[in-house]
Every structure is written in structure tokens, then in C-alpha cells.
Subunit: 306 residues, 2 copies
Amino acid sequence: MNAARFIAGDWGTSHLRLALCDGAGHVLAETTGPGAAACRGRFAEVYAQSIAPWSAHGPLPALLCGMAGSRQGWIEAPYLRCPADLEYLASCSIATDAQGPRIMPGLTCTNPLGVADFLRGEETQLVGALALDARLRAGRQLVVLPGTHSKWVQLDDGQVRQFQTVVTGEVYAALHAHGVLVTQAAPINDGPLDGAFMHGVERARTTSPASLLALLFECRSRRLAGELPEGEESTFLSGLLICHEIAHGLASVETPARICLVGASALARRYACALSVFGVEAYGLDGNHAAVAGLAAAWRQLHGEP
Amino acid sequence: MNAARFIAGDWGTSHLRLALCDGAGHVLAETTGPGAAACRGRFAEVYAQSIAPWSAHGPLPALLCGMAGSRQGWIEAPYLRCPADLEYLASCSIATDAQGPRIMPGLTCTNPLGVADFLRGEETQLVGALALDARLRAGRQLVVLPGTHSKWVQLDDGQVRQFQTVVTGEVYAALHAHGVLVTQAAPINDGPLDGAFMHGVERARTTSPASLLALLFECRSRRLAGELPEGEESTFLSGLLICHEIAHGLASVETPARICLVGASALARRYACALSVFGVEAYGLDGNHAAVAGLAAAWRQLHGEP
């Protein structure tokens, strides 16, 4: 077993994921902890508890990304303005204290709607995506990170030129948690992408995007009409929303031959499936894998390693 | 005091509102009870308890509208197909049993998106709107009933020609109940419609409707950028969503010189304000008042009174 050299951490709103890494960025051990939303004022304490099982390796430097760097986080790490070179991000990480972890910065830009936009955590997944797939380092590329707040990121030769946030996942989750449109939640898993999802995609693709708030009622009205089996409104809703996001995203940016999707595999598969209806090819990189790869690459950058 | 002649009831998902009426439909007394969602399997019992204080008036006939007539309600009242004559609705009400209340039918149509659409409860508010405002009985009229599921209803000489449901209120409420876009809920009240609401309206009016899921992120990103004071994202969100609904509604139907809004006064005021930005005049009728007026008119129709 290689020697542990540093700890890589992705501290999101809901989860903390920590990886013990060797000098090459290989993961030797992993652990999880509570998300940033549950750790206000006690980040140092939660971090110390979480890495306690690794104390035999001695004190190790650590690099974190995600909401631990937000205003309500451990310490506020700045948002770097785009265009931002992904190789330069690590040097803008900030230290929690002399011994504690460093935290990666977020990114800000003026998005295609002309408004200040923000991301935090995804910048490190982007660093990882470039480390995992050299093709992304050259030329104009489009990376989509689907999730609660999807990010559509335009890259130019390894620089983040611009990005845009689309709240597809938050609307999807909110309509599950509240109201009558979705009576049963169907998990987003690796099961077949059958009728209801593609039906939702087709409805959104062939209907004016101005109709979205009317289209969403079809989750209920098609059930009342007996056209949508109970339990499938969730999958139909997913198709409607993902397609609406994609139609907007493709209209907002120059679309390259292939889009890279960085995220959970089952969700990325839905995006790839909907993108194919628009004639756009997409391939996926696992989001957690990209985060660790990004932290490892950033750690090498910090220490002047190639 | 005039003699009590019948009981008018609006049994929605969340509330039961009962009114003791005289022969002219004037309200002599009112009471409230639990909504249909909380009464499964015990509608008769809840109804009997609710009207018990009025027992001195002897057994009275009753007419109800709303979710008490849904599949999960007291007894299922059919959806009448449009075009539907509002004067004819009462004759399609059905009896819960020989002594019990009658329940008004709902309406169904093929909406402008080509899909089966449904309403229940609003048909009675429409009957009431025509009773309260004779101008609505002639020619082509547009009545908008804003709410959890807004209804845009086209009338031709007192007939419901077509309608469309828009789930603006449900999305608004869901984004309050879940997620990070809205951190503080601001009540929809009669306070001044200040900057944040009109700012939301303007953003939605001047941005492609395809951008809605991206625009919604501005509730958060404008707060991060210091452009939206904390606590105002709720009002900004309301402006975004109501404007999106209105832009869609006005594009879907022929717009008459004036639109009638039937609903809660504070919400109707927001719609009127946003409609004015589109150069459309609107006036309001109180939704609860319209429901009682509709039940009274329907009761007179049932009994062959003018």
C-alpha cells in the first residue's frame, strides 16, 4: 500500500465525502460525514472527528471543495471571476488555519442571461474532468453537470469562459415534496428509460417552452384521464423538466459535437437520452470520481507537481 | 331575518366553507371545516357535525362544489365536457343520498395544448361570476382564476368554450417548502407591490420563456450578488412565475379588452398589476364570494327559480 499523502474532501450541502489519497491521487480509504448545512459553526470539530480513524498516518494536509467554502461554511473562499483557468484554481484556495485544510474557490461569471451566476464545488469536478479526459483540455467544450442546480459550462482551451445555472433538480424535488402533481416518487435509477420519461421529453420538445407551467399539470391531468399509470408521473415530470433544460441550454450556447456530462450515472443517462432526441451526442463521467480527481489534480498543482 | 332555505358549501382540498342561505342566496351564517384531503371516508360525518349548529332550521337541502365531488371525495360527480353551458351545470349535480347534499359536476375539455384538462370547484365560481357581473354573460370573455392551479377560462355567451390549467401556485408553494431558492417566505398580502415583484415581472417579460428554469436561480444568485435583499426572493419569485403564466396565457388565447380575475384579492391584485405591464386591463371578483353566489344561482336553477 502506498503512503497516504493528503486528504481530499467534497463538502456539499447534504454530504461530506472524504478520501485518503496517496501522492498520485489514488484513493486509499474513504469516509463520509454530515453536509455543510448541518455543520454551521462546528466544521473544524466535524472534520477532526471524521478523519480520526486515519490518525495513524500522522497529520496530513487536506484540500476541500464545496459548500464548506460558502459564506455559511467553514471559511469563505472567494468566487473567482471567469474566464478562469482551471489550472490556476488551486493557487486561489484558502487555508482554514495554519494546520487545517485548504478550501477551493468557487466561480462567478455573467451568464448568458446577463446576470451574475455562481458555482461552488463544480469547479473542482471540472478540474477532475480535464484530468480524466484530456480531450476536454483543448478547444471549445461544453460540460453539463446535472443535479439540483445543473451547470452548463463552456470551456475554451481549459479555461471556464462562461456558465449558467438551471434549477431543474430543485424544481423536480420540490414538486415531489409538496403538492398534488406527483403522488408517488419513482427513484432515478439504472432501470430502463421507458415510455413515461421519453413521453415527457417528447411533450416538452414539441410544445412551446412558454407552456412549461401548463405542461407540468399534465402530470396530474394525464393521470385523471387514465393516460399515465399511477407512479409514473414522477418519471414523466423528469422527462418534461430535463427536456426543458436541454432545449434552453442548447439554444443558449454553441453546441460542440459531443457534450460531457459530469454527475450521478443514472441522472446523466437521462440527460444523454434526452440529448440524443436533439441529435446531440453525450458521454458521462461520474461526479464523485471527478471531484476526487479534481482535488488530487489541484493538490499536485499546489505542490508544483505535474 | 329571512328564513334559511339551503346550505351552500365549497369543499376544497384544504378547507370546507359552508354558508346558510335564504331563498335569495343571501348568507345568514357561515362556518368552516376540514378540507377534503383530511376527510376520506367520513364526508357525511364531517358534514353532519359542521351543520349541527344550524339544526334549529330543520333539515335543509344543500349544494356543494369542489373536491367533495372528486374520485377520493364524498361521491364522484362527473366532469362535464366543454363547451358547457353554465346555466346547465346545476342540473348535472348528483345526490350523495336521498337526504344528503347534492354535489356540482366538474368540467373537462381539450385544452390549447391538445390535452384533456380538468377543473372542479372553479365551475361554480364561474356560475357565480356570471351572476355577479352580467357583462360576463354575453360575447367572448376571458376569466382567470389564479391559485395553486390557475385556470384560464374562455367563455362564449355564457358557455365555457375551453380552459387551461397552469400550476404557478403549486410551483411557488413547492419552492418555498423545499430547497434553497427561497429562504424566507413573504406573505401575499395587500402591502405595496414594490420593487421585487415588478422586478420579477420585468425579468420574466424581457427574457425568453425558455429560460424559466435558469431565471428561477436568480432568486438565489441575485441574493448572493447583493442585488436582492434577504426576504424579498419570495416576492421576486412570485413576479417571475406570475409573469411567465400571463405571457403564456395571453399567447394561448384571444385576449378581450378586459380580463376578469376571480380569486383572493391580494393574489388577484398581483395578476392585475402584471397584466397591466402587458397593456391588459383586469378587474377582480372575490373567489369565496363567487363560490357562494354560484351555489346560490345553481340552487335557484335546480328549483326552477329565475
